[in-house]
């Protein structure tokens, strides 16, 4: 890494590309081993991807313990389905989709319970430790206060960069609904941030 710091931009890009290729090769090897039931290899895959999986779980649920459960559930499901992974998409994408499904499944299951909890809790959800700094913390908090449908679309489309088609497919909604929910999310966020004097 020290060598990378002294390299010029093009050298840096080439070096990063090499690192990326090495990482992909290592990941492919780990996947192959894990598919042959190597728990050690699967743990290595967990270490590589947990931050991203937990990230989407936390952004979507807005709750630490729910996000932890979802992330664990996603990896357990991934282990059970690992032999079905054929590499048609990147492993991280495959895992991400499992995580999103896990979140949605838990949301559906615990909807009544969540409503009950929300009824007796404060209006403002607790601030999440997302690692965002400065003014982005306000945006993060505002996203966390969005209604579920708008929040899910905003997180997948605006934060994680999925297209509306992909977002709709992952959430089981129409592309048009995804666009409408994004519009709603942006309007609500703008109102919220304006009240708090947020400047991008």
């Amino acid at each position: 890494m020290a060598a990378l710091l002294t390299a010029d931009t093009s050298d840096y890009s080439r070096a990063m590309a090499t690192v990326s290729t090495d990482t992909q090769a290592e990941e492919a090897m780990l996947i192959e081993q894990a598919q042959r039931s190597s728990r050690r290899a699967f743990e290595a895959l967990y270490r590589l991807h947990i931050d991203r999986v937990y990230g989407v779980c936390l952004r979507m649920t807005g709750n630490v313990s729910e996000a932890e459960d979802c992330a664990q559930d996603a990896f357990i499901q991934a282990w059970n389905k690992l032999k079905l992974f054929r590499g048609d998409s990147a492993f991280s994408t495959w895992l991400h989709r499992i995580a999103v499904n896990s979140v949605l499944g838990r949301m559906r299951k615990s909807k009544r319970e969540q409503e009950r909890i929300m009824a007796v809790s404060d209006d403002t959800p607790p601030r999440l430790e997302t690692g965002d700094s400065g003014e982005l913390r306000d945006l993060s908090d505002a996203v966390n206060q969005l209604p579920e449908g708008a929040r899910n679309v905003f997180v997948l489309h605006a934060v994680y960069g999925y297209s509306h088609d992909e977002t709709g497919e992952m959430l089981g909604i129409a592309t048009g609904t995804s666009k409408a929910q994004l519009h709603r999310a942006k309007r609500l966020l703008a109102q919220q941030l304006k009240q708090e004097g947020f400047e991008a």
């Binding site: 728990r39 699967f42 743990e43 967990y46 270490r47 947990i50 931050d51 991203r52 937990y54 990230g55 989407v56 936390l58 952004r59 630490v64 996000a67 932890e68 992330a71 664990q72 990896f75 357990i76 282990w79 059970n80 430790e129 997302t130 690692g131 965002d132 003014e135 982005l136 945006l139 993060s140 996203v143 905003f154 605006a158 934060v159 994680y160 960069g161 942006k186 966020l189 703008a190 941030l193 304006k194 947020f198 400047e199 991008a200």
Partner: protein, 179 residues
């Protein structure tokens, strides 16, 4: 803040977030649990179905066996001696022997049966014999009628089966090559 600024800010939000605790222990525990085979419950269900079929068949067999006298037999005065196919064929010695043996058992069996059962048996045998007589008469007119021959053979089979059920003997059922 306009939409564009909002989307740019959203794209800068952290995508990777480190959980506050290591979640691997829970995952490891779950994946180390022995996986319950999907086949096990299916095999158990299949075994249960087979058991049910077996039990049902056994019960049905026992019930039919116990109540079989309903279709049962006759006294010697009802014994039907005609055993031929029209005027061209006669039944083989195997069939005659089997029938004679069964008839000999018949009186013994009647002693064990209720009058109602005996009456039923007599009625059944009379019906069979009447049918056999009629068919034989027809076969004398049309000896080459294979359909009639098959029906007549079936009636002899019925008669023998009825006698077997009543007498409780297990003899070979008449085959076409017994003729």
């Amino acid at each position: 803040m306009n939409d564009e600024e909002l989307m740019r800010a959203a794209a800068r939000l952290a995508r990777e977030i480190r959980p506050e605790r290591d979640l691997w222990a829970g995952i490891e525990e779950a994946i180390n649990e022995p996986v319950a085979s999907r086949w096990r419950p299916m095999l158990a269900q299949a075994a249960a179905v087979l058991l049910l079929i077996g039990a049902t068949s056994t019960i049905t067999y026992m019930a039919v066996k116990d109540t079989s006298p309903r279709a049962v037999v006759t006294t010697p005065d009802m014994i039907f001696e005609r055993a031929s196919f029209g005027n061209r064929y006669t039944l083989g010695p195997g069939f005659q022997d089997a029938r004679n043996g069964l008839v000999a058992e018949l009186n013994i069996e009647f002693d064990r049966l209720s009058p109602e059962a005996e009456e039923d048996i007599r009625t059944n045998l009379t019906m069979i014999h009447t049918a056999i007589n009629n068919m034989n008469d027809e076969l004398e007119k049309d000896p080459g009628n294979t359909l009639l021959q098959e029906q007549l053979l079936r009636m002899y089979h019925e008669e023998l089966a009825l006698l077997r059920r009543v007498s409780g003997l297990s003899r070979n059922v008449m085959m076409r090559n017994d003729i």
